[in-house]
Assembly symmetry: none
Homo-oligomer: 221 residues x 2
């Protein structure tokens, strides 16, 4: 029975949603703010999904999400009142897996929870065994000839991008869009720097990241 942690300050919602979810065969723990949610999680490692209201006293949903994402890729769904739906993009950029606006129906809620759980099963612990080395995406660690090398966050994203798009040339701007986000407007040459550091982390495999002069970079499989 999947276990869901639900953080919500309004008692009415807490009770209602708990019933909704229990009828759908979920195990539900409710807490009334973000602080309590984090406290619960620090002692318990068996939660399958977190439902986070955005507006809460003490620590709000956004901060909980941001904080959790530093160390975990546990599925998170954010809940918000329609009035602050302008925050949607923010919420997703925080790393939430889905976003539901209040009020929602029982069926919507359950369908989306199931969907996120299914999706995250695949996403979690996605590791790469490439020709000569291993890349543990979640840990952000490379294993090359038995040695473990840890990568910085940007290096992780960039390597993942290359490995998901092998043999395909991408311009610096395309890479910025995909890795940094489409709303990032920085110097395209920043990509060069990160390619450089990634190459050096990869050691002899650094050569796999090819330069397509005048057009961009690609990973050669």
């Amino acid at each position: 029975m999947p276990k869901i942690l639900y953080a919500e300050d309004q008692e009415r919602y807490r009770k209602l949603v708990k019933v909704f979810l229990e009828t759908a065969k979920f195990d539900v723990i409710t807490v009334e703010d973000g602080e309590k949610a984090l406290e619960y999680l620090s002692h318990n490692n068996d939660v399958d999904l977190i439902l986070l209201d955005i507006m809460m006293p003490n620590i709000d949903g956004k901060d909980v999400c941001k904080y959790l994402r530093k160390t975990s890729d546990i599925p998170i769904i954010m809940l918000t009142a329609l009035a602050d739906s302008s925050n949607e993009v923010d919420g997703l950029n925080l790393g939430a897996d889905d976003y539901i606006s209040k009020p929602f129906s029982r069926d919507t809620l359950i369908a989306r929870i199931n969907c996120v759980i299914r999706r995250c099963e695949n996403k979690r612990s996605k590791n790469y065994h490439v020709n000569g080395f291993e890349f543990f995406k979640n840990k952000g660690v490379l294993r090359i000839e038995g040695k473990e090398i840890s990568l910085t966050p940007k290096e992780i994203l960039l390597l993942e991008f290359f490995l998901n798009n092998k043999d395909c040339v991408f311009s610096r701007n395309q890479i910025l869009d995909s890795v940094w986000g489409f709303d990032y407007y920085g110097n395209p040459r920043t990509v060069d720097t990160h390619v450089k550091s990634l190459r050096s982390r990869l050691g002899e495999f650094g050569q796999r990241i090819k330069t397509a002069r005048g057009r961009g970079y690609y990973y050669q499989s």
Copy 2:
């Protein structure tokens, strides 16, 4: 000017988005449901991207997407209201290239459209299997007898030009117009130099690029 087909039943959105996109130098055709979208596409082959609202009368966005994907890889972006219980993953599993939830900002929309268009250009770029060799256009690489030879940007363009126009003689100026661009005013003999280097890259296949004395060059298939 890229052409976008926008299917949306709500008139308010139709008008607003049309204006958004036109200010960003897109050519926009709006239709009010999925059926009309398919009808339009059956007569027109010049659409660069399709924006599909999910909820529409007659044929909805999901079905349009599913139907189009059987025969085409034209870029598709799905739009949905947050309240829709239908969700992101379903949309993407249908084969859509991106997914934007309403309400969205003008900048978000345009950034993501540009991103999808660029990404798809890359995906759709073709490779060439010519009689004796292979040309991977996106990587700018030739494979001849198992050896990979990389080309310079101009060589890539020139070879692509020849392969797209086999057995057809072009003067130096026509080649300059097509490969270098209409606004390039340089010495036509520059073409000779590039033909020379392309021939040498092609090795034994260099002979396929023929000189039509007094008239120009052509690729013999």
